[in-house]
């Protein structure tokens, strides 16, 4: 079995922007992506399955089980937007490269204009006023984004960006796709979501996208998302018990 993207609806895009928010530190990116999907009433048009995900299905409360997957949603507006979110990331290093390359090849078919990846940055301490730290995959992009409230300085201890948020930028460069990564500062406790960091990331993102997004519902929406989030956390905890080898991976993707 190979990493596969099933297209549910054929959509024509005008140079869409791809926004990635997959599970990761503080679930900052995932919450932000999920909130955008809700607020913009975005429609799912493709799903990605991979043998590099954990070998299990999620049992939902309606007694239906589904494979772990990543999902692509779209929004047609002045600027076409595609959001990539989902249950999980790859659990093997090689798998990360494989999945990210499949995503980029799919994005290219949509005529992708640029990529913005969302994540958290674990500071290891409580953050009162989280900054949004940025990185680009080409120096020329710094000018483009300098007007936003993004910290491109080096007064932080980030040395790497692990997983999809990083690889989509790095591999994206090889596909000649411009990329920006936005990371909200967070404490970085395992299995703890951080809406405050997501809020900050969404503030910056909505300005870049020139979208009015009502962030007042974020807390409420997160509460609604909690059931799913808790389910996933339970999944993680269960996996920690059953698949010790996966322990590190969950720590790493979560």
């Amino acid at each position: 079995m190979e990493t596969t993207i099933n297209v549910l609806e054929k959509v024509k895009f005008k140079k869409p922007i791809l926004i990635e928010g997959l599970p990761g530190i503080g679930n900052v990116g995932r919450i932000a992506a999920g909130y955008l999907v809700n607020e913009l009433k975005m429609k799912k048009f493709a799903e990605l399955y991979s043998p590099h995900f954990l070998p299990l299905v999620i049992l939902h409360d309606d007694a239906v089980s589904t494979l772990l997957k990543n999902e692509f949603y779209y929004y047609k507006g002045p600027r076409d937007i595609i959001i990539l979110t989902g249950d999980t990331q790859s659990i093997s290093p090689e798998g990360h490269y494989d999945v990210c390359e499949k995503i980029l090849q799919f994005a290219q078919k949509t005529g992708i204009g640029e990529i913005i990846t969302l994540g958290g940055f674990a500071e290891g301490r409580i953050i009162e006023e989280p900054r949004v730290i940025g990185s680009v995959n080409d120096r020329k992009l710094l000018k483009k984004y300098e007007k936003y409230d993004i910290d491109f300085g080096k007064e932080h201890s980030i040395g790497t960006i692990v997983g999809a948020s990083g690889l989509l930028l790095g591999l994206g460069r090889m596909y000649n796709i411009d990329g920006l990564c936005l990371m909200g500062e967070t404490i970085g406790m395992p299995l703890l979501t951080d809406p405050k960091a997501s809020d900050k990331v969404l503030q910056v993102l909505s300005k870049i996208l020139n979208l009015r997004i009502d962030l007042s519902k974020l807390e409420k929406t997160i509460k609604e998302m909690e059931e799913r989030i808790k389910k996933t956390e339970r999944v993680h905890k269960k996996i920690l018990q059953e698949m010790p080898r996966a322990k590190e991976d969950i720590k790493y993707i979560g």
Copy 2:
């Protein structure tokens, strides 16, 4: 070497139902599947070998060594039945996806009608009256199975179904094959078989299959199976000593 299914006998099926009972929690599924094979005097018609199984042979009491394998048995009746059981499951995450996909492709060639996977659910405590908890891979199936003594509610802590019992459902959906998973509640101690949970699963299964299965011999049959089961447990213990990396996997598949 690739995962390979060797066909021992060419059999023509009428929309058979595939029942999976491989080693897993409490060996609930494996015991139930093995009992059905015995009671229905089913005949083996195919064997599956995989490089994703442990790299060893089992030395049987007759001094003959054989590769670890999964086996397909059949029963021709009002409803054709195929049972998938065997020594082991994949020991790597990617291997699980690979083996399950090979099983589904093989099942499709038989003209498969649906899949029922059997397993145990580890409650972590002694269960006096084990429930049979169910999950389907399409909501429409709930109606079909609502008349049986299956708990489709959410008053349990199951978040995931790991391994073949889960993946055959999840991947099965992508092959457009309907699937039901039946899980007998059990304590979930490593290397401990639970006939009581298997009995409950078999009660439900025999009603679904509309088969009269004499369950009175279950305890006795399990005693007869014990030698083989003990052999496998010894295998597991031996592996735990010799292949520490496999430790987690055995915990996970057993």
Copy 3:
């Protein structure tokens, strides 16, 4: 890179018998195979390299470094003999299947008649009079070997045969090649060779091969082999320090 067998000399065989003695428990098989190579003045005709071996070269005392490899030697006599020995076995489960399948495919090209694999069986205690425990890959072979001093009974605790000695039998059956495994009882301490067990295995083997092998030099030859064996042990110890993940594998192959 794939597992590759480089043929150094093209040799025509008459239904040769393949004898495997690779590193393993007590190095019983490896010592026995090495002794035969010396005593029969066998000639190397092929080498096997694999990405499933540790990623390192051995630095020999003459300052030359060589890849880890397995080696094929031959002896032309009343009965053609091929011996497979070498530095290591695969370090991944999947690799074991791959390497063994490549060996079998190569053996088939030589017109292989049968396989005898040699190994040790770890009893976990000092063995005064080691038995040679046997296993075959087809019940019909028991008759053929019953006249030799091989214990085919079940009064031992062997449940599995791990690695090449086992897989060549199990996979061999799928290639329709008859196989016998001879295991000398040994204490089974890590990194400890056991000449006494090798001696017993060689006694049985020389009768099967109908060869007069002077075993009086075994102790002496082992002393000569010790430098190489110590080098390998040093390799193992060094690897244990440098590559913790390999730890379990070495324990397992050694």
Copy 4:
């Protein structure tokens, strides 16, 4: 995704010599290679990316993120020189074989004459006067290099050469490429660079290459390289926290 070498500039070579200095024990080889690139004002002409590297990007101080990579530099002189250096080595055993084979295939296209690999040898104690210990991949090469200050004797405890420095020699032999490995003795503490050992290796190397290299700037250059080195060390530390499974690999490649 496969291990890929992107050629940035097409260069014609006359039997170039390939010098490898990737991260490893004491970073001895990497520092030596980096110093040569600086001193000879070498130009980058190719980059290697691999799914066998850690799945992350490095965030540089200018806010630009880049994939982990290896780099090829060249120098056109009386003798053409190619230097291979970079951020990392493969994190999986199989990956090492794959990456090294890709490097050799690329080297062959340049008409490679020979390979010299640079590394450190961990003595586990402070070394006052580090020797340069050598190994070749063909005995005939010993004569060629005997006039240099290289210790080809066996009065050291080296049993293996792990990673690219070893595999390029071992695999190189199969490509019929002569190879020499130079190892500077060092204490071998994790994440500690050793300029003294690099200095010794460079002294020998400059004589072999018949190049006048001003080593007086080594200490200074290393200070300049420190920022990058520290960044990588931070990367390593961060990975140790986030990706426990990589722990062993970093210990192993670093």
